[in-house]
């Protein structure tokens, strides 16, 4: 039997997503059926998507670029052509892998909405979002890409404001909508510049093939303008600082399966777009592009994790970490651009691989963590970490999955986050030798900031895991928590296994990058990347650094007998007692005496107080002495510098301007006719 080709699998996946969307809308009144049909279709579709992605990458250059028309064109100039090239396949693989795990998870999670919200609508938009995202990664011309991009943004908006009875969700939805469209506007302008440079008006004139290396034929000014427009447009979607303000608002309020998708895949659409445009379209980059992207990445990484540390809303904390990880990905991409400028294509491949490897890693562990947070939310009905605690005893499986995600995102060996950050470090360190100018200091300093980011992320996830899952429950809901449904655990387990696999077997996975580097930097996979039969991961030099996570793990298991032998030798006959925790002689510890999430991050808040500008209010009521207060009220706030310093003044200025403009709209039809006439005249003069 012949295996289906990647194009056939993709076709089937797209059809199944569309079927899922329609079927769950048809079954609107039967929530069980909607759940089964909607997420069942997603399961099938995503399985095919994983197959399509893998085949598209493993098929080699001969099979790459499988292309077909999705729908016969009805409008001239608009052709709905879908192409599965190497880069697209990789992102299709990411989205499908997450969709697979999330569809299992959603079976259980959507049950929480029975009788409260319409599951059919959720499943329909969910499938539509996945359909649009897959199309974004495979669209092969600018028109189709922008249409898919817009559908993706709109379905995501609908999902963000799914729980629209909450003011918080409505506000977040609107903010997301506005920011997303500012970004889209930039993209349209950027593509217009490319279109103009391509200089043809045939129906293929806006295809992605004609844009290939187009930047070398553009004038430098236009090329730089296009770079900035795309960075702004795709950066808004990716959530880079300072365009990130919508992300921590929108991601937490969506249902958790959607949050996982938004943080795992949707922001990666921005990364996909940037990679596509910067490495495929805009030609050999000038130096300042790489410097800009690297700087933006570094700033996003550090600020993202610092703001994340200040959160005690579990999902909001995770959303801020997405900003951090997008920053880390951009550090890889920025370094790759700088290497392309100095004509070091092998190093550029290494940096690009580092960035793209972190893309899939972040997708997986962030979705895993959001699923864990969703399971906790499902069972305790709160997102506030200060209300949690002790969940490891009530939700042991969720706790294990969350812990794996936490170790992975903190870039600790032997899991996947460590591997991709290791590759990023290697790329940055070797970058020092690529140029003689002062710019090369950026590489090690960027590496140092990456180290800061990693260590702060570890601190943040000690807090997130420790406060949520360990110690005593801090509230009644947490004490009553129950384990997540089996399908939810299955979804989380799948991604936890993926974290372990991508951590332990990086060399096996990296072979998939060969067609991508051939496509984007013209290089095969760097030699020395895989050594000792794939056990050891290296960098591009023979004597360069090496690492083997699998080796570490195996050696660690071999070392395990040492403490056990010591126990046998010295500790025979010793007993283990279970006793109360030391309570300084008080009558037992209460949950109120535990360390809180806010308390945990207090040292960081104090150290970086120039950034956070913490403000606190304490109100005491007492009879005799302030030390014996009857009631105590404590409030602590930090300032979100970007919102208060940039966006609020901007918002006010726009409103002021709009009020001025109102004078023009007097409501008299004669005035409007005059406006139209004047505009027409001006246009005619301009055309002459």
């Amino acid at each position: 039997m012949e295996l289906p080709s990647s194009a056939q699998l993709l076709q089937f996946a797209l059809c199944a997503y569309a079927f899922g969307a329609v079927a769950s809308l048809l079954a609107l009144r039967h929530e069980r059926a909607a759940n089964a049909f909607g997420f069942g279709a997603t399961t099938l579709a995503s399985l095919c998507g994983v197959g399509a992605g893998l085949l598209g990458l493993a098929g080699g250059p001969a099979k790459a670029g499988a292309s077909f028309e999705l729908w016969p064109s009805l409008v001239p100039y608009l052709r709905l052509t879908v192409t599965l090239d190497a880069l697209g396949s990789y992102f299709v693989l990411i989205v499908s892998l997450l969709a697979l795990a999330l569809s299992f998870y959603s079976f259980g999670y959507a049950r929480g909405f029975y009788g409260r919200k319409n599951v059919g609508v959720l499943a329909a938009f969910y499938n539509a979002l996945l359909l649009a995202t897959t199309l974004v990664f495979t669209a092969s011309n600018a028109f189709f890409f922008l249409i898919a991009w817009e559908v993706m943004a709109l379905t995501a908006y609908c999902l963000v404001s799914f729980e629209h009875e909450k003011t918080e969700a409505r506000n977040a939805g609107v903010l997301y909508f506005v920011m997303s469209h500012i970004g889209s506007g930039c993209l349209i302008l950027g593509f217009l510049l490319l279109f103009q440079a391509a200089g043809s008006v045939t129906s293929d004139g806006y295809g992605f093939q004609t844009f290939h290396a187009l930047g070398d034929r553009m004038s430098p000014g236009r090329r730089d303008a296009a770079f900035l427009l795309f960075l702004f447009g795709f950066g808004t979607k990716a959530g880079i600082v300072p365009l990130h303000i919508w992300l921590p608002e929108a991601h937490p309020v969506a249902p958790s399966n959607v949050s996982a998708l938004l943080s795992g895949v949707l922001i990666k659409a921005g990364i996909y777009g940037l990679t596509r445009v910067l490495f495929d379209f805009l030609g050999t980059p000038p130096n300042w592009w790489g410097v800009t992207v690297l700087t933006v990445g570094t700033v996003s990484a550090v600020l993202g994790v610092l703001y994340a540390l200040m959160q005690h809303d579990l999902k909001r904390l995770l959303a801020y970490h997405s900003i951090e990880n997008i920053g880390i990905i951009l550090m890889g991409l920025g370094a790759a651009l700088m290497f392309l400028h100095t004509n070091h294509p092998v190093l550029a491949s290494l940096a690009l691989i580092a960035g793209l490897y972190h893309t899939i890693n972040h997708a997986i562990f962030k979705a895993l963590l959001f699923m864990g947070a969703g399971a906790v939310l499902h069972s305790t009905h709160t997102r506030d970490m200060e209300q949690m605690g002790g969940l490891i005893k009530r939700m042991p499986k969720t706790a294990v999955c969350f812990l794996i995600g936490a170790v992975a995102i903190s870039a600790l060996p032997p899991l996947n986050g460590f591997v991709s950050e290791w590759l990023t470090y290697q790329a940055l360190l070797q970058g020092f030798g690529t140029t003689g100018s002062l710019v090369r200091l950026m590489f090690p300093l960027g590496g140092a900031m990456l180290a800061l980011t990693g260590a702060l992320a570890a601190a943040c996830f000690v807090k997130a895991f420790g406060i949520t899952f360990l110690a005593q429950p801090r509230s009644e809901q947490a004490a009553q928590a129950h384990e997540a449904a089996p399908t939810m655990v299955l979804g989380m387990g799948l991604l936890a296994a993926a974290c372990v696999f991508l951590g332990l077997f990086p060399t096996a996975f990296l072979t998939l990058f060969d067609p991508i580097t051939r496509q984007l930097t013209g290089q095969p996979l760097p030699a020395f990347l895989s050594r000792a039969g794939g056990l050891v991961l290296g960098n591009t030099q023979e004597l360069g650094g090496t690492v083997s996570t699998l080796g570490m793990l195996l050696l660690g298991i071999c070392l395990l007998p040492i403490p056990l032998v010591l126990w046998l030798f010295f500790g025979r006959g010793t007993r283990t007692w279970i006793g109360p925790t030391w309570d300084c002689g008080l009558r037992g510890l209460t949950p109120a005496m535990e360390y809180t999430a806010t308390g945990f991050s207090k040292p960081i808040r104090m150290i970086f107080k120039a950034l956070f500008r913490p403000r606190r209010e304490v109100q005491r009521e007492y009879d005799y002495s302030p030390y014996f207060a009857k009631t105590l009220r404590f409030e602590s706030h930090i300032e979100e510098a970007f919102v208060t310093r940039i966006y609020r003044p901007l918002n006010r200025a726009i409103l002021r301007l709009s009020r001025r403009m109102r004078a023009l709209q007097a409501g008299s039809i004669q005035a409007y006719l005059i406006y139209i006439f004047i505009t027409l005249l001006l246009l005619l003069i301009f055309a002459l």
């Binding site: 200091l441 990693g454 570890a458 807090k463 420790g466 050696l555 660690g556 283990t576 925790t581 150290i607």
Partner: protein
């Protein structure tokens, strides 16, 4: 061959690390006109802890029980990546400087979780402070390592050592002097020494490391204390072997290794002496003054990097 060298290095790590702690404690007492504990007291302590019963908090979960093992094994693995007596570290192919830092961070991650698990405020306080100090020490540590790695052209610790033994290496290269100073400050912070943390204190509000492990007893405590000693040893080894690569054996003959071992112990004791001097002549810093010290380390490392740029 590799297996033999792994076993030898493991024995060296396990046997030598309590001695360094013992020397520091003993010499510190001597400098303060006390008699102090004997040099081998840490060995006796470990034996005592190992043969005692354990009390485990009723609130603790499996994370609390798994922590000592994770910490111990990850620290030992980090130690195996560090060239101690022979220029070739036993498992240098499995990871270099970055994996070394990563493994220590893994141990710390679980140590901090173990502090939070028993639901005591002390543990949480210790964990919070430990993670904070580690976070601000990490960039200085990495930048100092990068400076050396860039000169050596590799992050592999064995390669870094080989480069350090090479003819182009100058001991008084300003980059290395500055990086050494930065790493020394990081060493004080990472091993919980005065002026960052006081290893001798059990005063509840000032302790960091001791606060995290307050609920541990018996063989778990032994594993944690031993890991702390090993971590101190390997960080000191990083300092002395990379910056003073004198006398390290390149051949694997018993005589060369023996001579190298003598050199290694002598260099370790010299660094231990420096730590003792710092501990005796300084007072512990307030917690919120520690970042100033560590940012000084970061600036030193940045200057080291700048001078690499200027003088090469």
């Amino acid at each position: 061959m590799t297996v033999v060298s792994i076993i030898l290095q493991l024995l060296l790590l396990l046997a030598l690390s309590p001695l360094v702690s013992g020397c520091i404690r003993n010499w510190k007492a001597k400098l303060q006109n006390r008699r102090g504990p004997r040099v081998w007291q840490p060995y006796l302590d470990l034996a005592k802890f190992l043969s005692k019963d354990m009390v485990i908090s009723e609130h603790a979960s499996w994370v609390f029980r798994a922590m000592p093992y994770v910490l111990f094994i990850s620290t030992l693995l980090a130690g195996l990546m560090m060239p101690l007596v022979s220029a070739a570290a036993p498992v240098s192919l499995f990871g270099g400087a970055l994996a070394f830092v990563g493994l220590l961070a893994l141990g710390r991650f679980f140590l901090a979780l173990g502090g939070l698990d028993p639901a005591s405020a002390f543990g949480g306080m210790g964990s919070s402070r430990e993670m904070t100090i580690a976070a601000i020490a990490e960039p200085a540590l990495m930048l100092a390592i990068f400076t050396v790695a860039i000169t050596a052209g590799s992050t592999n610790l064995t390669q870094m050592l080989v480069a350090a033994q090479g003819p182009t290496w100058k001991l008084l290269n300003p980059a290395h002097v500055l990086a050494f100073a930065a790493l020394f400050i990081v060493l004080l912070a990472e091993t919980g020494r005065i002026p960052v943390d006081n290893p001798a204190t059990h005063l509840e509000l000032t302790m960091i490391h001791e606060a995290m492990i307050l609920e541990y007893s018996g063989r778990y405590l032994a594993l944690i204390e031993w890991s702390a000693a090993i971590k101190q040893l390997v960080l000191m080894a990083l300092l002395v072997n990379i910056f003073f690569p004198i006398g390290i054996a390149t051949a694997m003959t018993p005589s060369a290794l023996g001579l190298s071992l003598l050199w290694f112990v002598a260099k370790l004791l010299a660094v231990a002496g420096a730590v003792v001097l710092v501990e005796t002549t300084n007072a512990k810093l307030r917690l919120f003054r520690v970042p100033d010290l560590l940012s000084a380390a970061f600036i030193l490392a940045t200057l080291a990097l700048l001078s690499t740029f200027l003088f090469q």
